[in-house]
């Protein structure tokens, strides 16, 4: 909780031809641009901090920070990408400054993800993997995502869910484009191995030849 004083009363008047927006107008303009993205920003925040309460805080903090800088945003610029940039930097400053790394907090339900270690070596045929992947739900994917390093998980979210281009992700994360591409590559390799490993352990995918064991009567004990 910050103790902001109301500065509107002391604002100097006149001097410019165009009447500057007052505070309420700025709030409305910002809300119109930012709030439609609230669900997505919240989902993104969950990729950073995982716990719903922390994601809630992070989004509030990021949007407040964004609002304070909103006057600097040029018209016609990519406000959506900018909001994710602010979310990213807010996470870095709020959660990393004091050495806390909530996204790697091992006390969460990620432990289940520990079992999802990539299966080594043998690769199964794409078609068998494809069949296996149809058995997955959101929960399995979230568990596999949770096992990724922070930067990889965030990059995958920005690419797959938000559909940002490499260049945009690079700007949001403050990383070179090449770094973003290699993060995505490593993340997807790990994600695939993790999901396939899960499929093998649960009997959806046979471990030895990679062929699917379609029926839920036989495979899943």
């Amino acid at each position: 909780m910050t103790s902001q004083t109301t500065r509107g009363a002391t604002r100097p008047r006149g001097g410019t031809v165009r009447r500057p927006l007052d505070h309420a107008e700025r709030v409305r303009a910002f809300e119109a641009e930012a709030l439609p993205h609230l669900d997505r920003l919240y989902a993104a925040a969950l990729r950073y901090v995982r716990r719903p309460a922390d994601a809630d805080d992070l989004v509030q903090e990021a949007l407040t920070t964004a609002f304070r800088a909103y006057h600097q945003v040029e018209e016609g610029s990519n406000v959506r990408a900018w909001l994710y940039r602010v979310l990213h930097t807010t996470f870095l400053s709020q959660y990393r400054r004091d050495g806390r790394r909530p996204a790697e907090d091992p006390t969460e339900d990620v432990e289940r993800a520990a079992g999802a270690a990539p299966s080594d070596g043998r690769r199964s045929a794409p078609s068998a993997e494809q069949t296996a992947l149809h058995a997955f739900g959101a929960e399995e994917v979230r568990t596999a995502l949770a096992a990724l390093p922070d930067e990889q998980r965030v990059a995958v979210y920005l690419a797959d869910v938000e559909g940002f281009a490499y260049r945009e992700i690079a700007e949001i994360m403050g990383s070179p484009v090449g770094t973003v591409m290699s993060r995505l590559h490593r993340a997807r390799t790990a994600l695939r191995a993790s999901l396939v490993g899960y499929a093998q352990r649960s009997g959806i995918l046979d471990e030895h030849d990679g062929s699917p064991e379609g029926s839920d009567e036989e495979g899943a004990a």
């Binding site: 989902a43 600097q72 979210y157």
Partner: protein
């Protein structure tokens, strides 16, 4: 006129996966990420038309992306919007008084 294209991406013969198919994984990845230009997309399409393994590879990777989207579709708590609004009302906006620039 497509000599150059087919030269760079030779077509696989029946049932045989040519070595370069392994190299196409990266291009499939960039295709799904929307990073291929028109010429690269045409090259890839021409190859996929004749190559089942690469087509399956693309579908698998597309499926994993779809799974990620499904897994990350959380909605914000219903009252988050109100809490954000309440904070904005009291937040200084740094612009109306000409401060905070630069």
């Amino acid at each position: 006129m497509s000599d150059e294209l087919t030269g760079r991406l030779p077509r696989p013969t029946d049932g045989m996966e040519l070595p370069h198919c392994a190299d196409l994984a990266e291009r499939i990845e960039r295709f799904l990420d929307g990073d291929l230009d028109a010429a690269e997309t045409r090259e890839l399409d021409a190859h996929l038309d004749d190559c089942l393994p690469c087509t399956e590879e693309r579908e698998l990777r597309a499926r994993i992306r779809a799974l990620v989207r499904e897994g990350c579709a959380e909605r914000a708590p219903a009252d988050l919007v109100d809490r954000v609004r309440a904070r904005l009302v009291h937040a200084s906006d740094g612009g109306s008084d000409g401060e905070g620039r630069g």
